[in-house]
């Protein structure tokens, strides 16, 4: 494979996880949700890269790390287009889309100031609204919010 030095400034991963096709505006929220800020592994974050599908996209590469599926699926809330590549020995051994879980625990802050979750030391819980895939509802106060507008804790 020919390497174009002007485009690929990052070495290929020997082993680890690549998350591709993240909408640019969601990239840093994904970084936060995945909790990779404090990881000791080699980490590459790219943003505003060209993408046929999204216009511009972000990408996250983490060496020697394999996230639990549930953790990866949490980013589906703000990056439903994201694709996860598992790399071993420089080869993509698994490739899949992220999937939004039915119940989202402890990532989204409820917008309702009178919600119990904003007044007690407790985790938030949101559920995907039946028949409206792009809406989530607070399990406690029933306020709804569009996925893309969700306030990430």
């Amino acid at each position: 494979m020919a390497t174009d030095k002007r485009e690929l400034a990052v070495a290929a991963l020997q082993c680890g996880t690549v998350i591709d096709h993240i909408p640019s505006e969601a990239l840093f929220k994904c970084v936060k949700i995945l909790g990779i800020e404090t990881m000791p592994h080699k980490l590459t974050i790219g943003n505003n890269l060209e993408s046929k599908r999204l216009g511009t996209k972000g990408i996250i590469k983490v060496a020697d790390t394999f996230f639990p599926e549930a953790t990866l699926n949490r980013i589906a809330l703000i990056a439903p287009s994201a694709v996860v590549n598992i790399i071993r020995d420089y080869e993509v051994v698994e490739k899949r889309r992220v999937e939004l879980p039915k119940v989202i625990k402890g990532i989204v802050k409820c917008d309702n100031p009178k919600c119990i979750t904003n007044n007690e030391p407790m985790a938030t819980v949101f559920e995907v609204v039946d028949g409206a895939e792009n809406l989530i509802r607070c399990h406690y106060c029933n306020h709804t919010v569009a996925n893309g507008k969700a306030n990430i804790l």
Binding site: N112, K114, C115, I116, T117, N119, E120, P121, M122, G131, C138, H139, Y140, C141, N142, H143, T144
Partner: protein
């Protein structure tokens, strides 16, 4: 989490609603059946609501149970910064049932998650108030002889009125036809209109409280239009009298029509309606006692008909 807790009306199946209504009817016939002997019930009112508290406490007393609790959060440890969780856990050591009202939305749901004692929601902010809905359903059943195939007209503040939202959700089992009568500023929120569409419930939206609408209704459910709901005070002045019911408006209405209102009213029902036999709002409030007796028994897993 106790499975007999009642947080929200949409947590109930059709069968569970009908069971509760049947028990309410039993209590109307036997209001002083002392089946809570030895039981202690907590009424925790983090937000004062005299009307609801008196109704629940009367229900417990008529059933022969004992009540502990408070009627105002400023007199409790929560005013010293104790969490809701800690208050609920502490009270759970003492009682068989917790009836709670809270100014925060979702408080009752959270309470059910931190205790094994059954919890009955007596109102959580603008969110849920299932005992109000049960007494509304009981009032409709009692006056119409059925809950099926009725034309129900909701009037006034349909945007913020949680009683009309909960009633709408509960009626989904009974093939209703709804009329929503409100000004643009206070019309039925999108999500409830969508709910009707999805459930195949027939509905019409009106800005006029017209004779046609009144004459074809089985139930008219009036609500308060409050000045503070309006961003523009001129708008309030313009609409406040458009949704007031007067006795003369009922001249040609159906014989079985009944007027409901969650009370307290301000001026949305003229005093001259009170003596019309179709005015049902005062009896409606009394039905709250029987509905709450039924809710309390269900929460404690007691069937009064069998004792």
């Amino acid at each position: 989490m106790n499975p007999n807790s009642l947080v929200s009306i949409d947590g109930l199946t059709k069968e569970q609603i009908l069971d509760l209504l049947q028990t309410a009817r039993y209590f109307e016939e036997h209001p002083n059946h002392k089946i809570l002997d030895g039981k202690v019930v907590a009424t925790l009112f983090f937000e004062p609501s005299t009307r609801t508290r008196l109704s629940f406490e009367t229900a417990v007393n008529r059933l022969g149970g004992r009540v502990i609790g408070f009627s105002d959060a400023s007199t409790t440890s929560s005013s010293k910064g104790e969490t809701l969780k800690d208050t609920i856990k502490m009270v759970s050591n003492y009682v068989d049932l917790i009836i709670m009202r809270h100014y925060l939305e979702g408080a009752a749901r959270y309470a059910t998650e931190v205790t094994d004692v059954p919890v009955v929601n007596a109102g959580d902010g603008a969110n849920q108030h299932p005992s109000q809905t049960m007494l509304d359903l009981y009032s409709i059943l009692k006056t119409q002889g059925t809950l099926e195939n009725l034309t129900i007209t909701m009037v006034g503040d349909l945007k913020y009125g949680r009683t009309v939202h909960s009633l709408l959700m509960a009626m989904k089992y009974f093939n209703p036809t709804f009329r929503f009568v409100a000004c643009d500023e206070l019309k039925m929120p999108r999500e409830y209109v969508e709910f009707c569409r999805k459930q195949g419930i027939a509905f019409e939206e009106h800005t006029d409280f017209s004779r046609d609408v009144i004459d074809s209704s089985d139930i008219i459910y009036m609500t308060r239009v409050q000045r503070e709901r309006f961003s523009d005070i001129m708008e309030y002045e313009k609409v406040k009298d458009l949704y007031t019911l007067r006795n003369s408006m009922l001249d040609t209405s159906k014989e079985n029509l009944r007027i409901l209102h969650p009370l307290p009213r301000v001026n949305e029902i003229n005093q001259d309606v009170d003596d019309n036999p179709k005015a049902y709002y005062f009896d409606q409030a009394r039905n709250g006692l029987y509905a709450r007796q039924a809710i309390i028994c269900r929460a404690l897993g007691i069937s009064p008909e069998k004792i």
